[in-house]
Symmetry: C2
Subunit: 343 residues, 2 copies
């Protein structure tokens, strides 16, 4: 019985269970009691067995993320860590900075004795060098779980989200408001989410018989600075778009910076929908229609899959009986930024 | 010659040099050329020597941070990583979740063969168990550098900021606007910044002969949820304060959440000054007067100190000739949230 099972039985989220177990104070009294009842009823004994097993072994899990300043990956790491805690694992994170060379260097320095498993959001969906490293680790008994970004032609375990579908839905929400001139600021082409979100954008236009204008597709690289330049490039066109689809949270910040500099207001001068949310904006006057995802849960699930691999190994002698690939469905949260007062 | 020296000579920040070296696109053409000239002139050869030394050794630096979802620590990590890159080190981060038990468990699982150095923001300023672990690592040849939080009674190397002084200045800025009823939402008492910022608050009141009201001092624990409850406790008092000093960025988010729920507006219903900035708010209608710090540079400097230890060892046979403790001075950025329309 783990946090996940307790959550299911108590009818709460795994993060709530984690908060109760860690004695955090942001849990309602009734909820806390319900969780504790389930735990008592099931005689949940955290860590005792795991602790007895841990003598002499580094119970570490490595997580490689492409951008350490992006809160998306902090949230993923938080989910991974909360799931890891109950089996007494520690999780550490490396930042690869969207750079395959750095990724290779880190993989080269990661020795099997440092860790029991590796969770990675790879920079590229088709980097052969990285794939080779990952396969070598699996051969050395270090299981690999991908998170958020898949690798083309490989069947690693992983947790992904249905990005194309939800990007399409977000762009359709602009079309429904009457927009026909819609720009997109895309992520790195070599990353699967970068590719899929742009594909979703194109699919929405095609579905509504809007011609695709290549000038309206500008790369921002999932970074604020790149997105700022992309937004500038879009807005300085002879016929600038009336709406923009921003492909991730850092991209959105770049757009907002440009808009602030130029005094542009949402819905008055431009409409916008975004992939991934920016929590800090909740308390402000900027209300962005965004594709939301259960990010914490994606991290939690990735670690859960890793643990299943260890269980398989213990029970069956091998951890490669089942390939586990889980897909989460994002959902659109409408907040009004898709509207356009000039129509 | 390292990034730091190049930055000095080119008259730019170390982060700019790092961006040029990493071929990022957010550098002005003139600046880039200036940096490249300095590099060429000095025949800077990144990584070559370091690479030749690295055979067979895990060139990893561990960074233990108390809150992985706090962007402050992502920025510190970014500074550490950028400085580490030029000597070919990789940096990985563990989150201790403001919990000394977790901190001990992670330290226990960190083996000397996993890393060449340890940078840590300790949970507490006086935890004996942690101190023992850190001393043991130093004995095993793993240098320790503290960042942001000092440990009482120890002389570890470190990078800190002058929190009491700048907290005092922030609260004085409220007093100058006429505020006498000023609340403070504090951090964990066992952390040095938590203690010092509250001391700065008290010092400002004393300096201006304002009596300290213990009801106005409420603990938020440097976390959004705790701060939300603290703000509620402050505002539900018979005579609530007219201004609040928020002791860190997560605390500020908790305050803003409470204010949004109650429909409270800055300067109309409440004034506020904060320790540490929230970048995302720059593009919104919320303009907070805040104590700013060179956070990236603090991380960069911590790694720089670590490198100096290795140099000392190489040159002098020991790395404990000099204790390096660097202090940065924060500065107040006034944006208007200290004002109060009811005066």
């Amino acid at each position: 019985m783990n946090i996940y099972d307790i959550a299911k039985e108590a009818g709460v989220s795994p993060s709530t269970v984690s908060r109760v177990l860690n004695n955090r104070d942001n849990v309602k009294k009734g909820t806390r009691e319900k969780v504790l009842q389930v735990i008592e009823g099931k005689a949940y004994k955290p860590n005792l067995l795991a602790r007895s097993l841990s003598v002499g072994v580094s119970r570490n899990i490595a997580f490689l993320a492409p951008d350490i300043e992006n809160p998306f990956f902090s949230k993923i790491l938080h989910g991974i860590s909360d799931c890891a805690i109950e089996k007494d694992y520690n999780v550490f994170m490396f930042g690869t900075d969207e750079n395959t060379e750095r990724e290779h260097k880190i993989l080269e320095n990661l020795k099997p004795e440092m860790m029991m498993g590796l969770i990675i959001t790879p920079v590229s969906e088709r980097d052969e060098n990285t794939v080779e490293w990952l396969k070598r680790f699996e051969q050395q008994g270090i299981p690999i779980v991908l998170v958020d970004r898949d690798i083309r032609g490989c069947k690693f375990d992983g947790v992904f989200s249905n990005d194309e579908e939800s990007a399409c839905e977000a762009v359709e929400c602009l079309i429904e408001e009457g927009h026909k001139k819609i720009g997109v600021i895309t992520g790195p082409e070599t990353s699967k989410p970068g590719h899929d979100r742009c594909a979703g954008y194109k699919r929405a236009l095609k579905k509504h018989n809007i011609e695709i204008n290549e000038n309206y597709i500008v790369r921002g690289g999932f970074k604020e600075e790149g997105a700022y330049r992309a937004m500038k490039a879009l807005m300085e066109q002879k016929e600038p778009p009336t709406a923009v689809f921003s492909c991730n949270n850092m991209t959105t910040l770049g757009c907002l910076r440009y808009m602030q500099e130029k005094g542009m207001k949402l819905t008055r001068d431009i409409s916008m929908v975004c992939f991934d949310e920016i929590k800090e904006l909740e308390y402000t006057d900027i209300h962005l229609t965004s594709v939301a995802r259960p990010i914490y849960e994606m991290g939690y699930e990735a670690m859960h899959i890793l643990e299943k691999r260890y269980e398989d190994k213990e029970k069956r002698g091998s951890d490669r009986y089942i390939i586990r690939r889980h897909i989460v469905n994002p959902y659109l949260v409408k907040r009004g930024s898709e509207k356009y007062l000039q129509f």
